[in-house]
Each structure stands twice: as structure tokens, then as C-alpha cells.
Amino acid sequence: MCGILQVMDEIEYRERMTRDVARWRREGLLTEEQERRILARMGAGERQAVRALRLGWIVTGVSIVGALVLAGGVTLFFATNWQEIPEALRVALIVAGIVAAYAVGYALMYRYEMQRVGSAFLLLGTLLYQAGVFLVAEIYNMPVDSPWLFALAAAGAFPLAYLFGSRIVLLVAIAWSIAWVVTEVISRYEDTPEFEASFLIIAVAGIAIYAIGRLHTARASLERFGEVYMLAGALVTLALVYVFSFRGIWDEIVEGVESYSAPPLVYLAIGATAVLVNVALFIRPADRERRIEAGLLLGLLGLGVIVATWPDWTGWAIAFNAAYFGVAAAIVVRGTTSGDERYVNFGLAIIGLGLLTRYVDVFWPMLDQESTAAAFFIIGGVLLLVVAIGLEWLRREIIRSMPDGGDRGGDRGDERESTLPPGDAKGAQA
């Protein structure tokens, strides 16, 4: 087994190197001659061999899309023919589908050394399992929006993610966990005066997921998972901060159209998450970047406490806009200081979305006249192009000023496509 894994490591390395070399060539860092010599040095001098190596990520992409499409098709087939199939056969089909997907995945990975396609079958197995949880609920006429079903769908995916080192399965598991929190909040507080405030729980859950990711980065063997948690957590929190940045929500709360009363669970969630953030900081207290990050997260939690307690202030939309753009700027700065291009791109994308939203927010009410509608699009288009030029210029300047020329993002981005875990757990690639 060790021999196979070493060969896989070598293939992974070559695939990554061919992609990096091509990118460096495009960016003008290498001449064509230098590119050719590097490829020849690593035994990939033949044009056909280079092409084959560069196909690796396409195989991964196509396999994952194939698994998603197949899982969707199977679920749709069951959903449309569910009533005609006897109940015992339905359960048998679900179990057989899960076992078959894993068996094929295992055989492809460990018998036929087709890691990428094999790992896509493992992903398929998990998706079928998750569909199975909901289809079983359907058999018993349970409401399919029951929060417990989302929790069970997530719980079954985590072991696969960790045992086979699969980041895409981990992302799927985190997504189901977030869906669990959302459905739990909705089922508990819908049609109650606490509904609006209860959405703070989702934002806090995002921060908690981010802190869990930070805890993962403390151990080298778990660092690759940490990035997935942190990305998911950041997206969830930013999405909620974005929602709270709209003035309409606060206007209705202040005017009493929407009642607003924070349930105790909001404070409990904030307290527990603050502990988690501090534990993550405690692991590496001397790290300046960590201290700033922890301060930012605790600041957001503090904002949550204040807004939960005193919601009827007219300036909350401005405060959340400030928080949104502040976090985005912090992500860009972090990318600059750590030399990681991915953070810069992510932060700038968030800033772009925020600017676009505020533009539409301000000018949307003027769209009832044809002349103003035309002006809206013309001015908006020009502004977007100007902003795009500005952001692109800023991005280039930032990347140019990075300690190692912003190389890290690309390398690590390629690493992401290969999901082979460290050590001997080199199974899943999806």
C-alpha cells in the first residue's frame, strides 16, 4: 500500500508542478525555454505527458460534478416514483445505494488506483446517505424540514471527511450543520416576537465555525480542515452581517412594525462562542495576527450582544455596514501580510458586492421613471467599471508588495484540488 501511495504522491506533485509552471509562464515569471526545461527536468518533457498531467484537475472537477448530478438524479427518481415502491423495498434501495457507491469508490481507489474518480464515488455515497435520511423521513410522513434530519445528515458525513481526509465532504457536512442551525432557529422562533433577533444565532454560529477552524490549524495534521471551517464560518457570518446592513429591517423594528425581543439562546450562543474564540487564541497567544483576528471576532460578538439588548437605535444599519466593510478590509489586509492571494481576492469580492448593493439600495427607489432607469444602468455600469479598474489595480499592487510575490495562494489553491490527506490516509481526493 505504501508503494502505491508514494507513486500517488509523485503523480500529485508532478500534476501540481505542471499547473504552477504554466501559470508562472502566463504571468511572465518564466520564459518558454525555462518552462520547457523545468518540465523536462521532472520527466514531463513530452508535450503529451504535460497535457496528461494537466488533465488531473479536470478529472477531479468532472468526477465531482458527476457525483453531484448522479446523486440529484437518483434523489429525483425516488421522489417521483416513491409512492409506487413498497416501503421495505424503498429502505433496501437506500441502503444498497449507499453501500454500492462506497464499494465502487473503494475498488476504484485501492484496486485500480483511480483516486480522483474513486473519491467522487465516496462523495456520492455520502450524498445518497443524506438523501436517504430525508427519504426515510418521507416514509414515516415526518416533516422534511425537521431540524433533526439536517443534524443527522451532517453527523454521518463528518466521519468520512476526517477518516479519508476529504475537504469537499467536510464542506458538505458543515453546510448541513449550518442548515440544521437555520431550520432549528426557524422552527423555534417563526411567528414569534423573537424571530428577527434569533437570526443573530446563525451569525454567531458562523463565528463559532470559524473559531473551530482556527482550533484545527493548531495541529499540522488538521490544518487542511481548518481552512474549510474558516471559509464556511466567514461566509455565514458575512452573509448575516450583510442582511443586517439593510436599513429596511431596522426601520421596521424601530417603528414597531416588527417586534423584536432576543431569546436567551442568543446570549448563550454568544457566550459559548466567546469561550471558543478565547480557547483558539490561547493556543498561540504570541501570534500577533491571531490576537487581531480574535479581537475582531470578539468585537463582532460584542456587537451581537448590544444589538440583541438595544435593537431600537436608528444607526444599526450604518453600524453593520461598517462591520461588513471592516471585516472585508481585514481579510484583504490579512492576505497582504501573510502573502496569500486568496484572501486578497476574497476580501475584494466582498467589498465589490457591498458597494454594488449600496448603489442599488440608494438608486432603486428612483427606478419608476424611464429616464432615471436608463441613468441608473449607465451610471451603475460606469461606476462598476471604474471600481473594477480600481480593485484590479489595488489587487496587483497588494500582490506585488507581498513578501513572496503572492505565490502562496496559487500553490495552495492547487493543493486544494488534491485532497490526499497527510500520512497514510491518502484515500479520498474529492
Binding site: T126, N141, M142, G156, L163, F164, G427
Partner: protein
Amino acid sequence: MRPIARLAIVVGVQLLIVVGLIGFKQYTLWTADDVLLRVQTGDPRDLVGSRAAPVRYEISELDLNELAGDRDVFAMAWVELQEQPDGYWQAVAVHGDGGERSFDGTVLLKGEIRDYRFGSARGEPTIVVAYGIEDVFIASGDGVPSGDGHDVAMKVAVDRWGEGIPRDFYIDGERFDLTRR
């Protein structure tokens, strides 16, 4: 750990969850109380097809003036049902807490209060309650009679937590399969 052992753990955990879910729901069904609830509809064919309106039960609207139990129910209500001589179950009391009962031999069905309708001279409002058993329909119209004057009911399994699980439609005593939306 060998890859096959890791895969065995993954498959074991996932199948345990699926089988556990089946076992839990099966046990719930075995130990649940079946109640027959009267459905309010002008024409049974209105219940046919996925576009049918949510099912309205006799207990979907409850006049608190006519029931025993609590008066200040908020958000959630546990409706105490009692079997009548004709086999149908009717509301006899409403509670704000699942642990309370006013009568013996009754079943508690949990519901969410969706609306309060005031205006009764006797003071207490009428509450509109959703039990989570409304979004069901009859998939095929074969054998479903039309017109008014029919006896339409739903058999509902009520578990020990007060959750209702719709089982079958009954129209003039004949059973029809239901589909959940």
C-alpha cells in the same frame, strides 16, 4: 488504520443512523395512539392532487370559551382530544404545557398557534392552530367521491410527545393513501 477499516467505520456510522431513524420512527408508530380527526371540506375531490389546499380539521379552530384548560396559551398549544361515541376525536381542553390533562383517557396533540380571533361576547378568543399534519393530499383521484355530504376524516398517530403523524384519509369509511407535500 487500514483503508478498509476506515470505510467500515464510515458505512457503519451512516447505516446506524439510517436504521436508528427507521427504528425510532417505527417504535413511535407502534406506541402511538391513533385518533380519527374530522376533516372540513365541501367536496372530497378538493383533497386530490399536489395543488390541493392544506387540510383543515375540525380542531384547526378552537373557541377557548367552550374548552377546559388554560386561557393564556401562547405560541404553542397542547390540545386534549377525547374519543366520541361516533369514533371521532374532538378537542375537550387546551393547555399551554404538554404535561397537563383535564380528563382521563385523552390524547394530547401539540400544535402551533397561528392566529387569535377576538370578538366573542364571552371574552376568550378563538385560536387557529396548525399541527403539522395539514400539508397532505390524495395523490390519485381514483375512487374519490365528489360533491358534499361525505364523511371525511384523517387517521393520525399521536406519539408520546404530542407530535401528530398523518396516516390515512377515510372517506365514508373507505381508506385512501395520503401523500405529504
